[in-house]
Amino acid sequence: MTIGTSIPRKEDPRLLRGQGRFGSDFARPGQLWARVVRSPVAHGRLGPPGTARAAAADGVVTVITAASLPPGLAIPVRLQVQYADLTGYLQPVLAAGTVRYVGEPVAVVVAEDPYAAEDAAELVELDIEEAPAVLDAAAAAAPGARALFPGGNVAADFALGYGDVAGAFAGADRVVEIEVEIGRHGAVPLEPRALLADPEPATGRLSIFGMTKVPVFNRDLLASLLGMDETLIHVHAVDAGGGFGARGEFYPEDFLIPWLARTLQRPVMWVEDRAEHLVAVNHSRQQVHRIAAAFDASGAILGLRDDVLHDNGAYCRTHGIIVPELTVAMLPGPYRIPAYQGRVRVVLTSKTPCGTYRAPGRFEGSTAREQLLDVAAHKLKISRNEIRSRNLLRADELPCQRSMSTLGTDVVLDAGDYPALLAKAQAEADRLGYADEVARGRRAGRLRGLGVAAFLEKSGLGPQETADVVVSRTGAVHVFSGGTSLGQGIETVLAQIAADALGVDPDQVSVVNGDTDRQPFGGGSWASRSTVVAGSAVHAAAGAVRDRAAEIAARMLEAAPGDLISERGRISVRGDPGATVTLAEVARATAPGCPHLRPGEPAGLSARRRFEVAHMTYPYGVHIAVVDVDPGTGGVQVLRYLVAYEVGRAVNPALVAGQLRGGAAQGIGGALLEEFCYDENGQPQSATFMDYRMPTAAEVPPIDVLITQDSPAPGNPLGVRGAGEGGVSAAGAVLASAVRDALGLAGSVGRLPLTPARVQELATNGGGR
């Protein structure tokens, strides 16, 4: 068995040698380079761009604007939820008539060389009559606000919930209400986007390098936008420099570059630079929560309500309204909430459009809910741990169905023991000396605080995933999965799952993810789904191959299939070590014309299996952190950080720990440092890594990790729960809790990120709202 062991990653050798193949590493003979011209203003009427000077520049092949394209092309929503009609808010592939954010594509220059393309892009003359930008979501949603779209600025306004919320608040002993604002930040993977489209004149096919996350969906969408048969598009598997939700969604460039390649009948490469990335790729997170809970005298929650203002930026992109939907659907978290209503307004503003970022909706909602519990504990004069353990759902209360749906599936908390994990996390933090460290710091006169936050995650979104497992003549096992490699180590995890099911060594298994020819039914890697659903599909396909191999081996060895055992790439008759065949020999025995292959049987040793699941699985966890606040500068230093997480079953514990640690680091960024700021005209103020401050090794402490496997997921054969987002989910919550504790605030911290300026203000004026 390799499941449960931290085998070395299959990805590592090539990446360590500089032999990874990322999107911008490819090159084709005769390749052209594209440069996107972007709007320099946040809002205005756009006249036809002047392209003559750019088109005449050295090395330029073509310059296109919206007028060059079929009219009315807009990027549709990938995930439709809550019956929202967003057709009036979709992003065109090139702006026509109006620009709505700084960074919106308005033209593309194609040249023989990237330097020439960039030079010529500066020669495109933009005729924009500037209009006032709308930057504040509350103002944009108010009656009489300047309308950015004919349908107004509120793209959707809906509520999820259940129970008698008004009754719960009317009958409460105590009502606590706070306002919490989450700053605008985003995924910002270290590799900017890159895309190469290569037309093959002989076949009419189009090869694409650089599409990740949902390659089959993107292939199908591209085919429909180009009017092509989808099997004529081949999206190749490539390495990707981090995804985190943002990379691999279908952006304007995902149409423009293939369209140009097809039109010019030459390979076209596009690589964005970082300044573009920070204004072009999905932003996320910006929300204002007015959240309230009703309590009885003992501190038990009677009802919860939240009114969320979600700033979605200039358009609704592929994610539609799933981030606001997930926010309110997941807001009750792991707690016993008899009555709940979460309302959300999805507001459009003159900023870069938004999409998902690792733990979408949960980072935001957990921050609001956990801050509310901290403030409530203070008012109810009970401890922060007490208010949580009193209200966490107990093991005997699960499964718990909440009368809400998200991502098209009902919310059914599957299994687990939330209070037990809180107790384990506290015991681990005590063992590691967190409380002592707080006491020691305070004795030394420091503003030191301890934070605690509990959270519920979701993972394993189906409804389906497909995997193919093929054994070749050498005995090598090939897995063709519908997941994609974004750096998470999914090649290694799927190899372990296939190896165990087949009784071979993981070294014998190779995994290809995200190649649309090799796996035309793949659902992609997102929402912490791949270990759960791709893993279960691989488990089933490899099991089918094992059974088929046993059937063939039984004929070869003249034994009953039930008497055979498969291990280390050999199939042997139990109790007769001499009677054995290798997997390679079995594979060769399935070639056409072999005597062991019966009439009518398909040749080859392979299987395709589909895993289907109606509901997600819900992992859960606890974060505990210790921080110091510098009273002079307002700087927050994270001293200790623990992530306790129930993963069901860890296929590769080192990779689970890596996911949790990396997520926590991103969460520290979002809670303390990172923010996309704009000036009053809608000009981005965070357009370089000097201004958009991602955490370095100086800001991220060693992250302690407690992985528990106490509650295998009931909904899949492996019992796995998904690990991608548990590190970041409660980071905003726990750091807000710790800073509030350090400053001794009675109210909430009010707003993330907790930058030095905001912390100084809190230290001076106290919390509030």
């Binding site: 070395p8 990653r9 990805e11 590592d12 050798p13 090539r14 990446l15 360590l16 040698r17 500089g18 032999q19 990874g20 990322f22 911008s24 590493d25 090159a27 990237p114 330097y115 910002v188 993977p189 270290l190 590799e191 900017p192 390495d239 990707a240 420099g241 981090g242 985190f244 690589v271 630079d273 970082r274 300044a275 974004l486 750096g487 998470q488 180590g489 080192a654 990779l655 720990a657 890596g658 640690r661 990396g662 997520g663 926590a664 680091a665 991103q666 370089t688 890594f689 000097m690 991602m694 370095t696 090794a697 100086a698 991220v700 060693p702 992250i703 590190g727």
Partner: protein, 167 residues
């Protein structure tokens, strides 16, 4: 009219002679003219460090140097670290400590660390501490790992090399 210069540069011990436009960055020259695509570009403004290479033994941001500035100099990239089939001790430590996930920043961290380790050796930096290593690692950005595995890998390599070379 392009302003082109004929230069000679040694990369991972191998001599190259090429004509390069004066404004072409060292990173683009390495990647597109010489095929060393292991040097990655994460920001092109000198912050992230993914493009870090060694120039005459010292770490340099290849996005902030012009190719012509490498004329007559010795450049080391990630492709030169492994010895044939065998990963270097530092590369192996990165794998052992799970110091990489997507691997995009990894070449920059490896070259940064090699530059630091070489400098330590020259200056006889004594027994390395985690804080020293953390300060060095803070020069570059990683978005996946939370830095812990990177710090552990460089620390272990520093200790092993120090123990090996100590009198």
């Amino acid at each position: 009219m392009k302003d082109t210069h004929l230069i000679r540069v040694r990369v991972n011990g191998r001599e190259h002679e090429l004509a390069v436009e004066s404004r072409r960055t060292l990173a683009d020259m390495l990647r597109h003219d010489l095929g060393y695509t292991g040097t990655h570009l994460g920001c092109e403004h000198g912050i992230c460090g993914a493009c870090t290479v060694l120039v005459d033994g010292a770490p340099a941001r290849a996005c902030l140097m012009f190719g012509v500035q490498a004329d007559g100099r010795d450049v080391a990239t990630v492709e030169g670290l492994a010895d044939g089939e065998d990963l270097s001790d530092l590369q192996q430590a990165f794998s052992d400590w799970h110091g990489l996930q997507c691997g995009f920043c990894t070449p920059g961290f490896l070259m940064l660390a090699e530059g630091y380790l070489a400098e330590r050796r020259v200056q006889d930096g004594g027994e390395p501490s985690e804080q020293q290593i953390r300060d060095v690692v803070a020069a570059n950005l990683c978005r996946c790992t939370g830095y812990q595995g990177i710090v552990e890998a460089v620390l272990e390599t520093a200790r092993r090399r120090h123990a090996r070379e100590a009198p």
